[in-house]
Each structure stands twice: as C-alpha cells, then as structure tokens.
Subunit: 247 residues, 2 copies
C-alpha cells in the first residue's frame, strides 16, 4: 500500500483519488469539530462549499430540522446556529440532528475528494482510528491537508504525519509528502500542541480567544469516531470490531 | 521581513509575488544545472515552458548561436544539445553561449514567478549566496519549491529550508511553509544527500544512471553564483562585495 500526503488541496491532481482511500485533515478546526459533533450524537453532517450553499440546503431540508454551523475568518457566520469550535458541538445542541456545515477550508476540501472510494475526516483526536479505517479500505491511501485558503497549514501536516506514521509502521510505502509529514510529526510528537501554537492559523485563533480549541485539538487519540462520507453526508463509521479501546 | 516557503507551485496565489523577492528551487536538477551552466561561463539561460517554445525560440535566435538543453522524464530531449545533468554544462559546451532550457518543472515554475520584483534560482550548491541575494532585495521573500509535475518533492524542500534557515538566523519571520522546510532541513542537515536519495525523483534519477548528479546536487555552498531573471533571461548576479568567500 502506498501512503501519500497531499500538502495543499491544489496539489491534488484531477481524478487522482479514484480508487484511493482518502482522509481530509483540518485540525483547526473543521475535522476536530466534525468528530466532536458525531461524538455528541449528531446524526450526520453535510459539508458544503459556501455559506450560500449551506443556507440554501438548510431551507430545502427545512430550517427548523437542521443545525447550521460554520465560520468565516474563524468566527460564527451571521444567522448560523453554531460556529466551528469543538466546544459548541454539545449533545444539547446537536443530538439526533442533521448539521449543515460551511467552513473555509475543511468542508471545501471534502467537496474535492468525492471521486475517491472511501473518504473520511481525520484529526489528531481520532488519528489512530482514522489510520485503521484507511488501512481496512485495502487500497492506496491519500491524506489531504486542508490548509488555509489554498495555503499550507503546519498543524494539518502534523495530523497527517501522525496518521502516516501509523500506516508506515504497518508497512505502507511513503511518498515524498508522507515522508515530510512524518518528519514533522516526529518533531512535535512529544507535544503536538506546540505545533498548533507555532502555526499561523493557531496564532490567529488564539487572538480570537480560541486558545482552548487548540488545546482540545492537540489531544491525541481521544476518540475512535471516524466520520465517513456516504452520499454527501458525513456519518459515524461503525467501529472496527477488532480494535483495541483507545481512551 | 517575512520568509515564506511555497511547497508546490500550485500553492502560489495569483499575483502573490508582487513586491516580493523570489527564489525558485529545483534541486534535481534545473536549479543545480543552471547554476553550473553560469559557473561554466554560459552568457545567459532562457527558461522556457515547453519543448515547443524552446525549439521555436532557438530558431528565432538562430539555432547555431544557442545551446538547446532540457529534459523530459529526466532524459535529454531529442534534437537538443544537452540534457539536464549539471555534468553536461562544461565550459567547452556552454562558454559564452546563450542557453535555451526546457525542463519539466524548474523552468516552468520560473515562468510563474515573473511578477516578482526580484527572481533568482537557488539550490543546495548556492544556498548561502541565494539567501544573501534575497536578503539584500530588502522585501519579503518567497522561496518556491518547483516539485515534480505539480507534486511535492522532498529535496526541493530541503534546499528551501536551508535558505530559510539562513534568513531566519538573520531575523526573518517564518510562515508555516518556512517552518516546515526548516524542520526538514534540520533533519537532513548532517547529510543532505540522504534526502536526495530518499525522495521519489532522486530514486528515479538513480535508476536512470544519474547517481552522480544527486551527489553533486547535495553539496552545500560550493558556489556564490546566483542566477537572476533579467528581461526573461537568467544571468549571473554580480557578487556581493561584502560577502565572505564561500568555498
């Protein structure tokens, strides 16, 4: 199995994901929040490319039945129910609900990976479980760093490198992207929070008052929940019966 | 001063280079060969986007006056005088000549950086001199990894990280891209050749019989020659009068 890490979505060649199992990594914060939402009991999460698409879909599905969530410049979008902080996705807010989510990078990147055979969302919180899900797909793997507005984000590569390290330990061959991601993860392995604090987006979020979000997003393997794409919606993957407990 | 490293050319936002000093890094092998060509006495090197453009330009300028060079899939192009190995750019082959060069990645990337105020070519061979030239431009800096057919290449990031390390030591602020490039350079600092051998393109070139090219390209700071773009041609930058000797 070949494990590839795509450093920015624009690096993704057209149709390159056909036949591959894909994970989208947006550590700060779409991946982290989507995992938190499913863990808090959300039924599913529909990723959308834009605020307009999210708003329109909410109307189509019935505004009262769904939770609109997402951010622009890190802040909750006007008229939306929730922003993009994992702490907002409480059971009280999301249990049993369909979420329609519009974020600047993570949900847009998810739109690009639809030609793949298996697409999931990964972050530091669920890295080991995501690696397991990718390995079980039985195909080559691409881990796509969502980045920020087309540019590279340090924390996404640390998350991707963590997943790539698990796959490499299981015998996967690494592309150049996977090698550098693993090297970066090694550098921050003892304390991933340092990477989140060092990166530009982390510093921006701290400035907005989201320091706690970084601390939460840096916690390794706190959940076995892997959101997977099924007919345009992210749902919780059934847990692997053979997996060891994570927490 | 902000030092940015662009990990793949596609990461480059439109017009993002206006007002910035730019270095294009294609360690294996366009940057390395271009530096070797100017060191061997070539008058100038015209980078082109395609074999067709190079051939046409050679006819316009007079085929007998120019040296056509470049590669496809690592091999010399049919009908061209030279390929893309630094060992081909001997004084006998290039002294006093105008070279028209078509490579798959390096010369194509040079076509994208033209809106910048200052554009040069850098590699491991001239990293310190290139860092000095970038710093003297007095603007923000972008180091662009050429990669391979749109994908990321390990060895380019090591070269970019080496240059970014020099600039960072001189007080430049690092973007996320510059941070990861420096981390990667640190990993391979003791022996950059290891990075060239670990990368996919290096392995491909070794398979073609270009093992010596990797060894040559991995030599740090063996020259102070910095090719700079002037009216579409790469020429040797006048050496910095204040610079210490490098070799």
């Amino acid at each position: 199995m070949i494990c590839d890490v795509v450093l920015v979505p624009a690096e993704l060649p057209e149709n390159a994901l056909a036949g591959r199992a894909v994970a989208v990594v947006d550590v700060l914060r779409a991946s982290t929040s989507m995992v938190a939402a499913l863990d808090a009991g959300a039924r599913d999460v529909v990723p959308t490319d834009s605020v307009e698409e999210a708003t329109k879909l909410a109307e189509t599905l019935g505004r009262e039945h769904i939770v609109l969530c997402g951010e622009r410049d890190g802040q909750r979008i006007n008229g939306f129910d929730l922003g993009n902080s994992p702490f907002e996705f409480t059971a009280a807010a999301v249990q049993g609900k369909t979420l329609v989510m519009a974020t600047t990078n993570g949900t847009v990147t998810l739109g690009r990976v639809k030609p793949s055979t298996f697409a999931c969302v990964a972050c530091i919180n669920n890295a080991r479980a995501a690696a397991g899900a990718l390995a079980r797909a039985g195909t080559d793997v691409a881990i796509v760093c969502a980045g920020k507005l087309g540019r590279f984000s340090l924390e996404d590569m640390v998350g991707a490198g963590m997943i790539a390290s698990y796959l490499s330990q299981d015998g996967a061959a690494s592309t150049d992207g996977a090698l550098v991601a693993q090297a970066l993860y090694q550098k921050y392995k003892k304390n991933p929070l340092r990477a989140l604090r060092a990166g530009e987006h982390g510093q921006y979020l701290v400035g907005l008052g989201f320091k706690r979000d970084l601390e939460y997003a840096a916690r390794e393997n706190i959940t076995a929940t892997v959101p997977v794409l099924r007919e345009g919606r992210m749902v919780k993957l059934a847990p692997d019966p053979g997996a060891a407990p994570t927490a």
